[in-house]
């Protein structure tokens, strides 16, 4: 029996110390997902609590078809998307690629030279403007080091879509950053 299997078995039996350990072990994963997908800081912590409540409620049904972290990421992703839906934020469809790309890249005009820290904050701002599905895939890949199949399991997307979203999201942000770099070179 692996550590995760033993942990899940204990949580399913109602061991709250084990559940506390599970929370500690996976709270960063959940906070990364929620922190990236949800803008409203007041909603974030409550949403993270709801996600772990769901984990506790469903842990008895977890059958180790995937890693425990992937299963928790899946709950976090779907819960966040449902939250955005309830708030009527546009997340159900990825916008039309060509129109969205033009809009996304030309939205702001670089007017000042930026230092590294400012540039970094700016890039994070650009990432925050991406559709939720793109942000989820970027977070799971870059922060959680999940593989494409694992991201597919967590989000319910086919592996090809995961690769595509990851690629397109990076291109979009890169193009926007490039505009700032071009400006820097001209100065």
């Amino acid at each position: 029996m692996t550590d995760d299997q033993a942990l899940v078995a204990r949580v399913a039996k109602g061991d709250m110390h084990a559940f506390r350990f599970l929370i500690k072990k996976h709270e960063r994963l959940v906070s990364h997902m929620v922190g990236r997908l949800i803008d409203n800081s007041e909603d974030r912590e409550e949403l993270c609590q709801d996600i772990f409540m769901k984990v506790h409620e469903k842990v008895g049904e977890f059958n180790f078809q995937s890693k425990l972290s992937t299963w928790i990421a899946s709950i976090a992703y779907h819960h966040s998307i449902n939250h955005l839906r309830k708030k009527k934020l546009p997340i159900s469809d990825i916008p039309d690629e060509e129109r969205f790309t033009t809009h996304f890249i030309s939205e702001e005009n670089p007017e000042e030279e930026l230092n590294d820290e400012m540039m970094n904050s700016l890039i994070v701002k650009f990432i925050d403007q991406l559709p939720a599905q793109y942000k989820a895939v970027l977070t799971l890949y870059h922060l959680e080091q999940m593989t494409y199949p694992e991201i597919g399991e967590a989000t319910g997307m086919p592996e090809g879509t995961v690769k595509n979203y990851l690629f397109r999201a990076r291109v979009l942000v890169k193009e926007k950053v490039k505009k700032y770099l071009s400006k820097e070179e001209l100065l």
């Binding site: 709250m16 929370i23 709270e27 906070s31 990364h32 990236r36 912590e45 994070v124 990432i127 990076r170």
Partner: protein, 127 residues
């Protein structure tokens, strides 16, 4: 490197920056993507969840006892009415017999208030 995929793979695998503008831009993007979102959970995060679970369990236990109580009351009342040949034909019962709509409205109103309290009031005062 000819296309965007090559640029991304180059940065993703080697982590090396190049002179090319695209490579520089990608490097900055990849660095930013490694940064955690600025959101920290409170220190008592796990305690709050465990408290909510315990409250939920308690509420569930209360509901079971409530159901047992109401069920027992109804059964006892029916048995008593049958044994005593009880009829609703005196005092307030006689008054309500003329206004079945009012009785129904009153019951639904109280149930509605209870539902509102459970759905909106209690969650908003949760710590």
């Amino acid at each position: 490197m000819k296309n965007e995929e090559d640029f991304q793979n180059h940065i993703d695998k080697s982590g090396k920056e190049g002179n090319d503008m695209d490579l520089r831009a990608y490097q900055l993007v990849f660095n930013a993507l490694k940064k955690e979102p600025q959101f920290d959970l409170s220190e008592k995060f796990a305690d709050k969840i465990i408290l909510r679970i315990e409250e939920k369990r308690e509420a569930s236990r209360d509901s079971v006892w409530m159901l047992i109580g109401v069920g027992s009351f109804i059964i006892t009342a029916i048995i008593s009415m049958v044994l005593l040949n009880f009829k609703f034909n005196f005092g307030a019962f006689r008054f309500f017999a003329g206004y079945p709509g009012l009785l129904l409205f009153g019951t639904l109103f109280i149930l509605g208030l209870h539902l509102l309290d459970k759905k909106f009031v209690r969650p908003s005062i949760r710590l």
